[in-house]
Amino acid sequence: MIYDWLYSLTGSEMIAIGVQSLLPLYLFILPFALVAVLLERKVAAHMQDRLGPMRVGYHGLLQTIADILKLLQKEDTVAADIDKKFFDLSPLLVFAGSYAAFAAIPFSGAFMGSNIDLGIIYIVAVTGLVVAGILMGGWASNNKYSLLGAMRAAAQIISFEIPTLLIVVTVIMITGTMNLYTMSEWQTGYFWNWLILGGPDFGIAKILLTPLMLMAFLIIFLSTLAEVNRTPFDIPEAESEIVAGYHTEYSGMKFAIFFLAEYANMFAISAVVSALFFGGYQSPFGYLGNLLEIGWLIPIEQFFWFTAKGVFFVLVQMWLRWTLPRFRVDQLMSFCWKYLIPISFVLLLLVGLITVL
């Protein structure tokens, strides 16, 4: 819809596509990442019986602006003996890997970055770029701690992509499509039509699928948590052992880019999980627009629900971070390979059987 409007405005395909794909990023995701920084600090503080930032603005609401200004004017320290090309390239790769995923996520019924049929597979593939960025950053820093962190990060992200993909394949089998937009449309109606409760087709399949889908949701939530390096899986940036891991040597704006990429990644994960299992931008209770016969209210409502679900899952991720200690590297690997992968395979088989019969 926006694409058509822009095309009619400018008459050039390139500009229309360019603006359309950058629009969600700059209007929504980047401000969200900035807000998420403050949100994390406030949530952490209130869970720990303290107040968090309070001085800048009312109750600290403008703290992010102060942070950004500080990071902008910081000296970009460059250590000796680093590999300059890779050092500079690494934050950009991580950033690109996180933000490119938003092209295939439907923000509402009327807006989607690019309506490719590959959808979810594209998202999983592009978040794999992050591994290359992290490895580059760790190696180029010429620092043993960074190298350790980068190696651990690479092992972790690559291993946890497997359960993610297996569950995604499970969902694809049920819904029959890889496009997230079509998947969200398929889950219209009220909240009992969501995939976590079995999907919109009533019948024996729905009752059988519900516990399996709950299990699948749990597994994909945990594996995607590991993909974004959040506690309990935050070994690459484990503060107490290896002093910030692969981004030890970065300061100033480059560090800010890593930071923003992490929060955007968190939101991308939440959006994907909610699109797969919780109906994406669908409202659980029906639309006000339908009730009041106002057509153009519906996309706005859908956008609101999309944001609400995304923010809810981001809050759950933050909640987990401030509760749990972190895993050790070998325990992490054994958790992935010995627990998550076999269970995902079993789920795949069972769901396959149910869909065939």
């Binding site: 720990q48 043993k144 506690t231 935050d234 107490s240 002093v243 749990l324 200690p325 895993f327 050790r328």
Partner: protein, 371 residues
């Protein structure tokens, strides 16, 4: 032909978020497995024992505070008991009771720091703040008594600096009531969390024989299964009047003597200390706390070695006096110094992440190691 791997020397330098103080650890690692660990100490050496030779006995008390700065009352307690034994002073009952209450409250505060920082090292940031919130209450109790929160100079030779504040007993009872549910919450959040157990069980196992041979004392020794506590086996002051148990490691989640056991000992010890404080508060007699303080502290010529149970182990003072107002020599047996010796052996064969776990479970304070 075997694969040739290289050994890497990793330096967890004096400035590091999880070495407790300025400690330099030189790790020789192969991949993630540790081959050897060499600790380098001395970054906090302040010549305590040399200072003691030119100061008078009451002037040394502020210096003993600063050795193990997380357990100042217990340090002063040990020193004062040594000097009083040398001089043959008998202190009034009230003074004994107050000293025991202060020492046990200080034990709880010190264990809270140990537990909080251990959780923070493992990655759980929230219990750290909960522990410090409870510790604030204890420090407030100390503050109304003697005015200072960390380094008190409260326990004097022959008595105390001030008597208890009139509000102290009421506030302590309130604290005890509030602390028990907080302890249960801490257990829920950290102690029995499966991830925490996986991180710390079966890591850094210290067998009882090795512990005794190295001279380890305190919760580390008790976690290995040896039932030895100076408050019961070599009683000093009035500890024999109170009814409390000594927790001994049993290896509930893992083996006896691993990190989880050492950590769990501290939690159980906090409960026992609460019991002692409760009993002591109900039994305090009246009296004058400064009646036995001598005008001039001039012990007769002689030597004495006396020891107390610090939160970290056995703290011993060896005092040589030649009859003048300055001691000839004071030597301190610091528990963390002796506990640190076994660290290299515990770490062999474990991974880099375990170094932090083991170091936190031994619970050292660099002020004590370097003096």
């Amino acid at each position: 032909m075997a694969l040739k791997t290289e050994e890497m020397v990793l330096n967890m330098g004096p400035q590091h978020p999880s070495t407790h103080g300025v400690l330099r650890l030189e790790l020789v690692i192969e991949g993630e497995i540790i081959k050897s660990v060499t600790p380098h100490i001395g970054y906090l050496h302040r010549c305590f024992e040399k200072h003691c030779e030119v100061m008078t006995y009451p002037q040394i008390i502020p210096y003993t505070d600063r050795m193990d700065y997380l357990a100042s009352m217990c340090n002063e307690f040990g020193y004062v008991i040594a000097v009083e034994r040398l001089m043959g002073i008998e202190v009034p009952e009230r003074v004994e009771y107050i000293r025991v209450i202060m020492a046990e409250l200080q034990r709880i505060a010190s264990h809270l720091v140990a537990i909080g920082t251990y959780g923070a090292d493992i990655g759980a940031f929230t219990p750290f703040l909960f522990c410090f919130r409870d510790r604030e209450k204890i420090l407030n109790l100390f503050e109304i008594t003697c005015g200072a929160r960390l380094l008190y100079n409260y326990i004097w030779i022959g008595g105390l600096m001030h008597d208890l504040h009139p509000d102290f007993i009421r506030l302590t009872k309130e604290f005890i009531k509030e602390f028990r549910p907080n302890l249960k919450e801490l257990n829920d959040l950290l102690t029995f969390n499966q991830i925490f157990i996986d991180r710390t069980a079966n890591v850094g196992i210290l067998p009882a024989e090795t512990a005794i041979n190295y001279g380890i004392t305190g919760p580390n020794l008790r976690a290995s299964g040896v039932n030895w506590d100076l408050r019961i086996n070599d009683p000093y002051s009035i500890y024999d009047r109170f009814d409390f148990k000594i927790p001994v490691g049993k290896g509930e989640n893992g083996t006896v003597g691993d990190c989880w056991n050492r950590y769990y000992m501290r939690i159980l010890e906090m409960e026992e200390s609460l019991k002692i404080v409760e009993q002591a508060i109900n039994q305090i007699p009246d009296g004058d706390v400064s009646s036995a303080i001598p005008k001039r502290v001039k012990p007769p010529a002689g030597q004495i070695y006396s020891r107390v149970e610090n939160p970290r182990g056995e703290l011993g003072y060896f005092i040589v006096s030649d009859g003048s107002v300055n001691p000839t020599r004071i030597k301190v047996r610091a528990p963390s110094f002796v506990n640190m010796v076994v660290f290299g052996e515990l770490c062999k064969g474990h991974m880099v992440a375990d170094v932090v776990a083991i170091l936190g479970s031994i619970d050292i304070v660099l002020g004590e190691i370097d003096r």
